[in-house]
């Protein structure tokens, strides 16, 4: 009202930045509201309730949703994470090595496996026995999943660890060496533990990514007991000819990824504050 009166009192006067901001925001809210209303009018609500929110179909998935699908998803994720952690740390150390071929191997690995779609890696793993006749990855699908997820995440974690190792002040190594520790001992006891602390937030984010990528295990061809969340949802959806289980799987992913993401941001903030 006051703005109106002022505008009326001096029609030549241009709008203040604050007034312009208020008008622009009002327009944005208006557009948003229109979109929501249009979508709501276009949607077939009874059909949505029937297809996506069928409590009967959702109930059919219990308790296997948690006891089989979520459990397997967690197993694939953790085993891939452990593999990726170990190989990623090794690659990061190789990258810093004074031995040039180690540096080349590590750099090459990172470039190749960050540049490939994870799906392609999983398809390749199925073909490994063709290259090495008689070769079997131990642990069946569990071993293959750990390998696939480990190979991909190692490339990303190598870069994360490299940044972490570089962030440890040079004086830490010098102090350790001046106490008579050999280089390797100083790395293991002094530098690596501090680097790992530094990279805990980004590693938590990597864990979230891996948790979602574990859905690729479905391309390895899994049995009913090896099924993970995405395939479980998909299978249930086709069994009951109703997509509700896919939505349920999605919510189950979020049950894990949102708290993990929150934890990562909290850790990041705390680390930022303590520096």
């Amino acid at each position: 009202m006051m703005a109106d009166q002022q505008a009326a009192a001096s029609p030549q006067r241009r709008l203040s930045p604050r007034q312009r901001q208020r008008i622009s925001r009002g327009i944005q809210y208006g557009v948003l509201l229109v979109i929501v209303v249009v979508l709501a009018l276009l949607a077939d609500w009874p059909a949505i309730k029937e297809s996506f929110l069928s409590s009967k179909v959702a109930g059919e998935g219990l308790p296997q949703l948690f006891t089989v699908a979520l459990k397997n998803t967690v197993i694939y994720t953790i085993s891939g994470f452990i593999g990726g952690f170990a190989v990623g740390l090794l690659l990061a150390l190789m990258r810093q090595s004074s031995v040039a071929p180690y540096r080349w191997i590590a750099a090459g690995y990172v470039e190749i496996f960050r540049g490939l779609p994870a799906l392609l890696i999983f398809l390749m793993i199925g073909s490994l026995p063709l290259a090495f006749p008689g070769f079997q990855i131990p642990g069946e699908v569990y071993g293959q999943a750990a390998l696939g997820l480990g190979v991909v995440s190692a490339a990303y974690m190598a870069e994360t660890f490299r940044a972490g190792l570089q962030a440890v002040p040079k004086g830490q190594m010098e102090a350790a060496r001046s106490l008579g520790m050999p280089h390797m001992r100083a790395m293991v006891s002094i530098v690596i533990p501090q680097a790992i602390r530094i990279v805990i937030p980004p590693l938590t984010n990597e864990l979230v990514l891996l948790f979602k990528d574990s859905s690729l295990v479905l391309f390895l061809g899994v049995t009913a007991t090896q099924v993970e969340l995405a395939k479980f949802g998909n299978d249930q959806a086709s069994t009951y000819a109703n997509p509700t289980p896919i939505l349920v799987s999605g919510l189950t992913y979020l049950l894990i990824t949102i708290p993990l993401g929150y934890a990562a941001r909290r850790l990041e903030a705390r680390q930022g504050a303590s520096r």
Partner: protein
């Protein structure tokens, strides 16, 4: 007997020659302070003594063992040398006690109980036994530096190297660290100290070495080098340090 002997030491970083032929020695039980303007090479000299910097040429002897010899086990040799850094360099992820025990256990292979006992003795010596369970970030700079001294002492070094140990400290914290170093000198520790603390050099040092542009300009008892310097460069430097702002 000499604890440290340095012969014709040269050190270059690329084309920059930082040390241009250093000869000097530290007798057992002596305290030698190295003074000089920044960029004079005094810190590099100290870091060459325990081979944190690899000398370009020349020899370094500690307890009669040539550290610069290609066959020498440098990790074993470094155990004879305690080093205290300008930036303290305490291990940030370990408690104060663990900072002082870890090298005893990993390097000297002392059993945990013995390492802890020796650590507590040395923390007592620097007046910080009550901080044993704190982390470095919870301590003031002066306290961190005293822990760093305890950490070095726990290895029973025959020589302590101090690289500007008070330069990163707030002025009111300098006194505690110097007090610890003074007591160490009284106990007969052999010390090589790079410092800007002229008061400490005058009172505690047996010898003062003045370095400038990579060479030793003057070397003698503090009464001579600080109170009655022979060289113009020494006089100019001391004047700048003792009467800043003139």
């Amino acid at each position: 007997m000499s604890t440290v002997e340095i012969r014709n030491l040269h050190k270059s970083f690329g084309k920059l020659e930082v040390l241009k032929g250093i000869d000097f020695s530290v007798e057992t039980g002596q305290v030698v302070c190295v003074i000089g303007p920044s960029g004079s090479g005094k810190s590099t000299l100290l870091r060459c003594v325990n081979l944190l910097e690899q000398p370009t040429s020349g020899q370094v002897f500690v307890d009669g063992i040539e550290l610069t010899h290609p066959d020498v086990d440098i990790d074993a040799a470094r155990r004879r040398l305690g080093m205290v850094f300008q930036q303290f360099n305490l291990f940030a992820h370990l408690t104060v006690l663990r900072n002082v025990t870890i090298a005893q256990e990993r390097v000297l292979k002392r059993p945990r109980a013995e390492a802890v006992r020796i650590a507590r003795e040395n923390l007592e010596k620097v007046g910080l036994s009550e901080k044993a369970d704190s982390y470095p970030a919870q301590l003031s700079g002066g306290q961190q530096q005293r822990v760093a001294i305890a950490r070095a002492l726990a290895m029973n070094p025959s020589l302590m190297l101090f690289d500007e140990p008070t330069s990163a400290l707030d002025p009111e914290l300098v006194g505690d660290v110097l007090q610890v170093m003074r007591r160490l000198a009284e106990d007969g520790m052999t010390m090589l100290v790079v410092t800007h603390e002229m008061g400490f050099a005058r009172e505690v040092a047996d010898r003062v070495v003045f370095m400038d542009q990579g060479v030793i300009v003057e070397d003698g008892p503090p009464a001579q080098v600080i109170a009655a310097p022979q060289h113009n460069r020494t006089r100019e430097f001391l004047h700048r340090v003792l009467h800043p702002g003139d």
